[in-house]
């Protein structure tokens, strides 16, 4: 029972790491970026290449995945994304699906179509028993990283100068510029940060979710579920949503396997009907 709860939390945390970058771009910058998974995949492949080809330790791979993906995000933002901030949502959807397609084919071309696997350092694999509750070491690691991340994200957004600048830039671009905030730079950095988070999520998720060229398409749905249920205006919303979905999904599959696959979708629809703008909505939706 507790093991299931633990697994659910860990799974939810993983979803959160993957989706929180999207919260940043979608929620704060109001950009429907379906290509989020492509950034996550990049992070995953960075890890795979570094570990399997060059034998670099997993712990170094995580920051590297974050950095490389962030840089990639920055480049793409400067060259392509920035032209689309004011575009239609539909345009953004089309554009980012285009990016996903290119990423899928590109990954296939460079890395091959097969499932990529990584081998974790021994201290992270296996499980231990704590008061009779089986706990996977890697899952515990995921939970810790994720909790730290969620806290940091919340602090950055609400307490730092950058956070308030960003919120100002989002709320009213023109006034923010008038106040001397360099909005393009703020946006570019935010986008890079969001992409980097995706890369980190991809690197961490490779172990549990696997990694192959179709990753961005396969998991796009899950990111979107988390963000839409959680709402896009806070960090805590998606965090709780990811947790809720993770636990519900795992528990549903354990106790009633027959309807297991429906749990997550049904839950999403119910949540969306009850709270159309997310768990903690900031008034009317945009």
């Amino acid at each position: 029972m507790l093991t299931i709860l633990f697994d659910g939390v860990a799974y939810g945390m993983l979803l959160f790491i993957l989706a929180c970058g999207l919260t940043v771009t979608l929620g704060l910058m109001n950009f429907i970026n379906l290509a989020h998974g492509a950034f996550a995949m990049t992070g995953g492949y960075v890890t795979v290449v570094m570990m399997n080809r060059y034998g670099i330790s997993f712990y170094w791979c995580l920051p590297a995945a974050f950095l490389i993906t962030a840089i990639l995000g920055l480049i793409l933002e400067r060259t392509l994304y920035q032209w689309l901030y004011r575009a239609d949502h539909l345009d953004q959807v089309l554009f980012s699906i285009g990016i996903v397609f290119m990423a899928v084919a590109g990954a296939d071309y460079f890395m091959g179509g097969q499932q990529q696997l990584i081998n974790l350092p021994p201290e992270l694999s296996g499980r231990m028993d704590v008061f009779g509750v089986g706990i996977g070491r890697y899952r515990l690691f995921t939970i810790v990283i994720c909790a730290v991340l969620a806290l940091a994200l919340q602090l950055i957004l609400s307490k730092t100068r950058f956070g308030s600048r960003l919120r100002a830039a989002v709320d009213d671009r023109r006034v923010a510029m008038g106040l001397g905030i360099n909005v393009p730079v703020v946006f570019a950095l935010t986008f890079a940060f969001g992409s980097g988070l995706a890369g980190l999520g991809g690197a961490m998720g490779a172990e549990i979710l696997g990694l192959e060229p179709n990753f961005p398409l396969k998991f796009m749905i899950y990111f979107l579920i988390v963000v839409s249920v959680g709402g896009t205006s806070t960090v805590s919303g998606p965090f709780l949503a990811a947790m809720l979905l993770g636990v519900a999904d795992v528990a549903g599959k354990y106790y009633v396997p027959a309807i297991g696959p429906f749990v997550i979708y049904a839950l999403m629809i119910i949540m969306l009907i009850l709270r159309p703008n997310g768990l903690f909505s900031r008034g009317a939706g945009r």
Partner: protein, 391 residues
């Protein structure tokens, strides 16, 4: 008004163009329809590489005809497969259809095969019922019942009493579950629980926990190959092996193509299948060497052998008919064909047009620093049990 006109015109045009076009007799075109993109792209890659390897090894003539391979991608979507098949037959004058990565893709083509009398060689899809869908379908891969049953036999003979089955929740998975259960129960075993995993499933934790809580001697697994490797890792992580639960599976789970990257957790897994890269025979050595050379060190897996033998079947049948690729003659020639494949001796059952082959029980071991499925027991010349029983 317009509708009436259209229908009238259509009727007229149809009577005018119903004659089948005649094609040059020197070339026999083989249409290879495979998922080259999408989640099953690796199947397409292996099968097409296998088919090409055959042509590279044996030349491009058979029965006095030049063989031309046309490869098309269906992305794993059934209506695309059907349209491409139809186009190949109608526009390109393809004489033989082959490939088909998944059961629904093969099923979608069955009506075309029947209507156009086109010999159709299934090189990968594994549900037993496919060859029943059309009298022009034959198969060179294998059926899930065919290699699930020997795993059941082996388990019951090796001290395994209580098993949990764990399969992907779709056609082939249900097939594997059904036939393993049947064999294992008939030999006195007990199935503690049957768990099915949805196809779109990112995390195995809840299912593995269920297995663990049931405390069986072994867990029998069927999962499509890419998913299988993920499963393997989580299986080890959850400490199921330490809890004394043995992992037995169909060979899809320990796919040779990616077995190496699964690492230590895979070692000791017992599987049943029709082909292993490490199969010890001169034919296979030559095949593996040529294949790895042509494909940038990619290991040939069971799908590639399906492609290779599919071409072998087409060549042999054409030799027998002296180049006649017309449906009825070709299918008559296919029945009872036998040859030595890289996987061992194979033949085509004259009654069901399905393949008869050896099924090997293998254990994953480290050989020269590489992980391999090492064969240690052989069940000779097995037919597909489902169709054998139906008789």
């Amino acid at each position: 008004m317009l509708k009436g006109l259209l229908l009238g015109v259509a009727g007229l045009a149809m009577t005018l163009t119903n004659a089948v076009p005649v094609f040059a007799q020197e070339v026999v075109k083989v249409g290879l329809i495979l998922p080259m993109t999408g989640p099953f792209a690796s199947t397409g890659r292996q099968v097409s590489a296998g088919a090409k390897a055959f042509i590279a090894a044996k030349g491009d003539t058979a029965g006095g005809k030049k063989i031309e391979l046309i490869i098309r991608d269906d992305g794993g979507v059934a209506d695309q497969t059907r349209r491409i098949a139809q186009e190949l037959v109608v526009n390109e004058g393809t004489k033989v259809l082959a490939g088909f990565g998944l059961t629904p893709l093969a099923m979608a083509v069955a009506p075309v095969a029947t209507q156009a009398k086109i010999p159709t060689v299934v090189m990968a899809a594994g549900t037993a019922a496919i060859t029943k869908a059309s009298p022009f379908i034959t198969r060179t891969s294998g059926t899930l019942p065919q290699y699930s049953v020997p795993v059941g036999t082996w388990a019951s003979q090796n001290g395994i009493k209580k098993v949990v089955t764990l399969v992907s929740d779709y056609g082939p998975g249900v097939d594997a579950e059904k036939w393993f259960t049947k064999e294992f129960k008939a030999k006195g075993g007990e199935i503690a629980e049957a768990v099915r995993i949805p196809l779109q499933n990112p995390d195995f934790a809840p299912f593995l926990q269920r297995v663990r809580d049931a405390k069986p001697d072994a867990v029998f697994v069927f999962l499509p190959s890419g998913v299988g490797s993920l499963f393997m890792k989580q299986f080890a992580d959850r400490g199921l092996a330490d809890a004394g639960i043995k992992l037995i599976a169909t060979g899809d789970v320990t796919d040779d193509d990616i077995l190496n990257s699964m690492g230590k957790p895979a070692i000791g897994t017992i599987t049943g299948h029709f082909y292993a890269t490490s199969h010890d025979s001169p034919e296979n050595k030559a095949y593996v060497e040529a294949f790895e050379k042509a494909n940038n060190k990619m290991r040939p897996n069971f799908m590639s052998v399906g492609g290779y033998d599919g071409m072998a079947l087409i060549y042999n049948a054409l030799e027998k008919t002296k180049g006649d690729a017309s449906g009825p003659a070709f299918m008559e020639a296919v029945k009872g064909l036998s040859w030595t494949s890289p996987r061992g001796p194979v033949s085509i059952d004259p009654e069901t047009r399905d393949i008869i082959q050896n099924i090997y029980i293998r254990e994953v071991k480290e050989v020269n620093g590489q992980l391999h499925n090492v064969e240690f027991q052989t069940f000779s010349a097995l037919k597909d049990p489902e169709k054998a029983e139906a008789k």
